[in-house]
């Protein structure tokens, strides 16, 4: 279980995030909601260890974690808004490199790379360099870089922006898979597609203040789409062999 307790973040003397209590359980897909400038990316940056907080702590499975530690980076996969890709490496090279950097062996990395390229329909673009990709393709590559990591926690920043309809469906199926395999997923966006009714928790940010919502009626109001049980979504799962169900 992921817990945020009394988190305060400020920049230039101004408070940008204030989260007294926010939780996420295994298998939760959490929608980080809020208008532009509400602090969604800042909060993800903090959880991923890119930014430091002024006070407060993160707990994972009851233990306090240091977000900038190597151990936490092993546990958390973060897909940045722009994908965080390297302009001069090809799609294939970037996915392979990420796979190696997250600890997979050479043959395993090659296998993961091929699998993810097929999954996100990047085969035509495997030899394209990062700086030759369109915004939507960069987004798909970013998602590919995120899911080659067998992490406990997945953070996606604005994954829906620039994604075409088929890719949005694939991304939804990835989220279903991660959910059913017991991972915690945080997705930050200011708009969620109505087809993705798999969110079972929402952290609403308003002027930096985080409010945790998990009741069905609250989610219906916030997300404007139906709340479905895990079983109803199970048929949408896809094959990601290295992400095994959590024990």
């Amino acid at each position: 279980m992921l817990k945020l307790r009394n988190i305060e973040l400020s920049r230039g003397g101004r408070s940008v995030i204030s989260a007294s209590s926010a939780n996420a359980n295994r298998g939760d897909v959490v929608a980080l909601l809020g208008p532009n400038g509400a602090g969604k990316t800042t909060l993800l940056h903090y959880i991923a260890g890119i930014l430091k907080n002024d006070s407060g702590d993160i707990y994972y499975n009851g233990c306090k974690v240091d977000p900038s530690s190597l151990d936490w980076r092993r546990r958390a996969a973060y897909v940045l808004d722009d994908g965080g890709i390297i302009p001069l490496l090809t799609v294939e090279e970037q996915i392979y490199l990420q796979s190696v950097l997250v600890g997979a062996s050479h043959p395993e990395s090659i296998e993961r790379t091929n699998h993810v390229i097929e999954l996100l329909e990047l085969s035509r673009y495997r030899d394209y360099r990062g700086d030759e990709l369109s915004t939507g393709l960069r987004k798909r590559l970013g998602i590919a870089l995120g899911i080659v990591h067998d992490a406990d926690l997945f953070l996606f920043d604005e994954p829906y922006g620039s994604l075409d309809a088929p890719s949005t469906v694939v991304f939804g199926r990835i989220l279903v898979t991660l959910k059913h395999r017991g991972r915690i997923v945080l997705v930050a966006s200011h708009s969620f597609p109505s087809c993705d009714n798999l969110y079972n928790r929402a952290w609403k940010l308003s002027a930096g203040v985080v409010v945790d919502h998990s009741r069905e009626d609250e989610l219906r109001r916030l997300l404007d789409f139906g709340f479905q049980s895990g079983e109803a979504n199970r048929s949408r799962e896809i094959d990601i062999p290295w992400i095994r169900p959590s024990t």
Partner: protein, 356 residues
């Protein structure tokens, strides 16, 4: 998938595809290359002159000349090496998936190491030191003192690079800022004007018209140590100035083009220029010709920097908004930055008139 792919090859691929060339502004890069070439030509000419005089059986103080070169190279390498490796580390986007991956830092270090080892300037530095040892050992007839000093200067260089890189990585985050520091430091080395001359009947090397004896190890260590301290001081000065200029920018009302001007041409780069040319003008031990060259270089810097500002604005306006500074009377928008720039450029001129 190509099965020959591996992490080492990817690091080399980044170098081959020119990631290290994305390190900053190409015009600044060309200026840095020009100043480096100028220094190398000056040193090569001195070495040639020394060999020529030795063949005519003149009394050459080979140990002093070699030691002076070692200090000079070490001072150059400490600063440029530290700043270059910092710029290389910024060549990969931050944050990227590499920073967020568990073994990402190791890959970043491997990438820096590969490029540093492959950079012609860094390979050239080692080669020049070895060459200097060979030439001046032959001239002096003994090698042990020269080799000991070369090793000492290399040791000081490596420790200095590590120390300055550690400090600079906490302070500098912008590639063009780092390039400006590199250029200013190279200008400082150029105005040192290393020159072969005869002192008390022995041929030795002078810096800025002054003779430095390198008879003791301590003096050489002092020279390199001083360079490290000066470099650290400059870095701290940059940090302090950026804090002050941030406060200043927040409080004073500027037009958008003035804001743009100050964001492209930082005030701290001017203050650094003054910090470098000031001592040259004030010092009585520096030749008038060197002072005139310093003034000329600072004027060139002023003109080039304004042209750079105009080029940056024009390129951004063309690319983003498809308009130009040179149409529809838009040129008036930069009018307020012209007197500011002239005042900033006039400071070295006034310094020259007052002190020289």
């Amino acid at each position: 998938m190509d099965t020959t792919i591996n992490v080492n090859s990817l690091s080399r691929q980044l170098y081959k595809r020119g990631t290290h060339r994305l390190l900053g502004n190409p015009s600044f890069g060309s200026l840095t290359a020009f100043l480096t070439a100028l220094l190398l030509i000056r040193i090569t000419a001195n070495v040639y002159l020394s060999i020529d005089l030795w063949r005519r059986e003149a009394d050459i103080d080979a140990v002093q000349i070699a030691s002076a070169h070692f200090v000079f190279f070490a001072v150059w390498a400490v600063w440029i090496g530290a700043l270059a490796s910092l710029r290389i580390s910024l060549a990969l986007p931050q944050p990227s998936f590499i920073d967020l991956a568990p073994h990402g830092r190791a890959f970043r270090l491997r990438f820096i190491r590969n490029i540093v080892l492959l950079r012609p300037t860094n390979i050239g530095f080692g080669a020049v030191v070895v060459l200097t040892v060979i030439i001046f050992s032959t001239i002096s007839g003994s090698w042990n003192r020269i080799v000991a000093r070369a090793l000492l200067s290399l040791l000081c260089t490596f420790s200095g690079v590590i120390l300055i890189t550690a400090v600079a990585s906490k302070i500098l985050k912008i590639r063009s800022d780092i390039q400006i520091l590199e250029i200013l430091y190279l200008l400082f080395l150029v105005v040192q004007n290393p020159d072969v001359a005869s002192v008390k009947g022995r041929v030795c090397i002078l810096f800025g018209g002054a003779y430095y004896s390198f008879s003791a190890f301590g003096q050489m260590v002092l020279g390199i140590g001083l360079a490290v301290v000066v470099a650290l001081f400059v870095l701290l000065l940059v940090k302090m100035l950026s804090v002050v200029s941030n406060l200043f920018r927040r409080q004073v009302r500027f037009s958008p083009m003035e804001r743009w001007y100050w964001r492209i041409l930082h005030f701290r780069s001017w203050l650094l220029l003054y910090a470098i040319v000031g001592p040259v003008f004030i010092s009585s031990g520096i030749a008038p010709a060197t002072k005139r060259w310093t003034l000329a270089l600072s004027i060139i810097f002023g003109i080039a920097s304004y042209l750079y500002f105009i080029a940056q604005c024009e390129s951004a306006l063309n690319e983003k908004w498809r308009c130009s500074l040179f149409e529809n009377g838009n040129i008036r928008l930069i009018a307020r930055s012209v007197p500011t720039h002239i005042v900033l450029m006039a400071v070295p001129v006034m310094g020259y008139v007052l002190f020289c």
